[in-house]
Amino acid sequence: MSEQVPIETLHPTIRMLSDEQIQAIHNTSLDILSRTGIVMKNEKARRLLLDAGAWESDGRIKIPEHLVMSAIGSAPSRIPMYNRLGELTMPLEGGNVFFGSGSDCVFTIDVETGRRRKATYDDVYRIARLTDGLDEMDFVMSMSNPSDVPPMDVYIHGFVGMIRGSVKPNVYTANHRGDMEDIYRIACAVAGSEQRLRERPFLMLYAESISPLLYPDESVDKLLFCAEKGIPVTYPPSPNTGGGGPITLAGALALGNAECLVGLVLTQLVRPGTPFLYGMNTAALDMRSAIVSYGAPEWPTGMAAWCDIARYYGLPVWGAAGATDSKVVDAQAGLEAAISIMTAFLTRCNLVHDVGYIEYGSTSSMEMLVIADEIIRDVRFIMNGVEVSERTLAREAIHRATPGGGFLADEHTLRNWKWAQFRPRVMDRSRYDEWAERGAKDMAARANERARRILAEHDVPPLPEAAEEEIRAVLRRRAGK
């Protein structure tokens, strides 16, 4: 038989919104912007908007449709992200899905003692190193606000801990323009030069407005800084249902979309083409505990919806998964992480953060990261779909098989088993006796062991000396020396 065109493999996707639903949400967002308006606390941004054709009434700034549409037009449809060695490892585009940790937790579960305690600089560094060693993790975030450094330097140390601990691209947070400038200095030193950093960005700012419709001075200032420099930024609002957003998801999406588009408009007014990652967070304000839930199904449901909206706009998209409200790494943690990770894959969210959060984002857990890494591997297998080809249809093997005899020793099995089957690393499939003999450990205990092993064995290339020098200079200046 001559060579035939292979049968294409279907990779499963979901759609949460129909075209009509997307249009209705988009239209509502335009109404929110032009009729309800926003409160803008940053003077420079206020001027930018007014000069571009927005107007002020009832104490709000109202933004017309054409500003929004031209910003969507000038924003890049893709953001190629590099690691700090200058290699393209995270092209945020098309159907690519990349996972990473989250920022700024207050507490961490000590991997040695199992105790929940305040996070330190060392935790940022060590968790970054663990994340660097986990195959399914594509980027790092700080995972902690170190409590053992001066409060005004928290974000600098957070950034430094990340880049020392990992070469992977990072998503960072900051307090204000002063932090941004120092982080930028350090980043330029890592990349080699300002131009090199712009050409091969390995960092992305995560800042946010306050839902509903409030744009704080410093938060907007950080956004503008990125646009001025032409470096990547994401500005997802958090219209959490029942808290910052309406209790109903459609309303939260319409509000969040409007709010995110304001960030987009601002970046494109400062510098058309600024890499901007579209998205939002739709956690739920739980009406019993009054916590903002990171495990609620509202979040993945919302994520699949705003990913549909992002595709309608042709913008790369931000989301979250792999987090839990559970205080320990247990069945609830696994369940909430699996559902959200599966959804992130199915909806093709480009950059998925918060992996490894427990206790609704208050605490970071290395065990949770390791387990989520395993879940991602597992779900990726499902996303690969079912290859249908001569080698997988196993026509000849079936023909050969003794009825009732099986395929275990068949040539086809021996040739293909390695790629055809999923092999777990942390999940346990051993027989009872073997499992008992090995200490009868549950998943959390095994994840703990894997985390410690990676910490003991995984090496990360050091920062260039010029970067270490810049870090010292920045910290000296901050200490007033």
Partner: protein
């Protein structure tokens, strides 16, 4: 007689604001004193709400609807309450500390306190120590509550306590703190009087302090 008070309490629990207002009027017409109606009707109802919320049997919206009914009843009573049986358990000044813009938790604490009969003064977010000082001078509250959700801003709770100390006002108020990074140990360390992990506990603690 007591029947109608019980009815006020249970209608309040169900969040029937119009009925509560009517019942309060009826109770007044029947000769009950405003103080009795307040204590054994409205506050009794709200107490039950608080208890059941804490036990997990009620949800936040149900508490807020009940609080609305409480206000409806209070609107009828307020003009009649003499200064002596002041409508409030005490004044409570509350705000989110400097540098911090989180206010969902603070607002919930405020609403629950109001439901429990406190008169609150909300200073908003990003409140500087001097602004807390001015508010204490102006409103002379029983309690000052500070909220912080950030590791970077919780230090401003200490600065605020120091500012109150310097202004000679520290001993005139009780200070409560709360928010995600705040712990009982931290509260003690900075010299606050109390800490509460959530809004329902905040009410219990405030009552003990007031």
């Amino acid at each position: 007689m007591a029947d109608i008070l019980q009815k006020i309490a249970s209608k309040l629990y169900e969040g029937e604001d119009e009925e509560v207002a009517e019942l309060v009027q009826q109770a007044l017409d029947s000769g009950l004193t405003p103080k009795e109606i307040l204590q054994d009707g409205l506050i009794a109802g709200m107490d039950q709400v608080g208890k059941d919320f804490k036990a997990g049997d009620l949800f936040v919206p149900e508490v807020l609807i009940a609080a609305r009914a409480m206000h409806a009843g209070m609107n009828v009573l307020r003009p009649l309450l003499a200064a002596s049986d002041s409508p409030t358990v005490g004044k409570y000044v509350i705000g989110t500390v400097k540098g911090d813009l989180h206010d969902i938790g603070k607002n919930l604490v405020k609403m629950m306190l109001e439901g429990a009969g406190f008169e609150t003064v909300d200073l908003g977010t990003d409140v500087a120590p001097e602004a807390f000082v001015r508010a204490v001078q102006e409103h002379k509250p029983r309690i000052v509550g500070m909220s912080a959700l950030l590791t970077t801003t919780m230090v401003n709770m200490k600065s605020t306590i120091d500012a109150l100390q310097e202004a000679g006002l520290r001993d005139s108020v009780k200070i409560m703190v709360g928010g995600a990074p705040v712990t009982a140990a931290f509260a003690q360390q900075i010299g606050a009087d109390a800490y509460a992990p959530d809004a329902a506990t905040a009410v219990d603690v405030a009552r003990k302090l007031a």
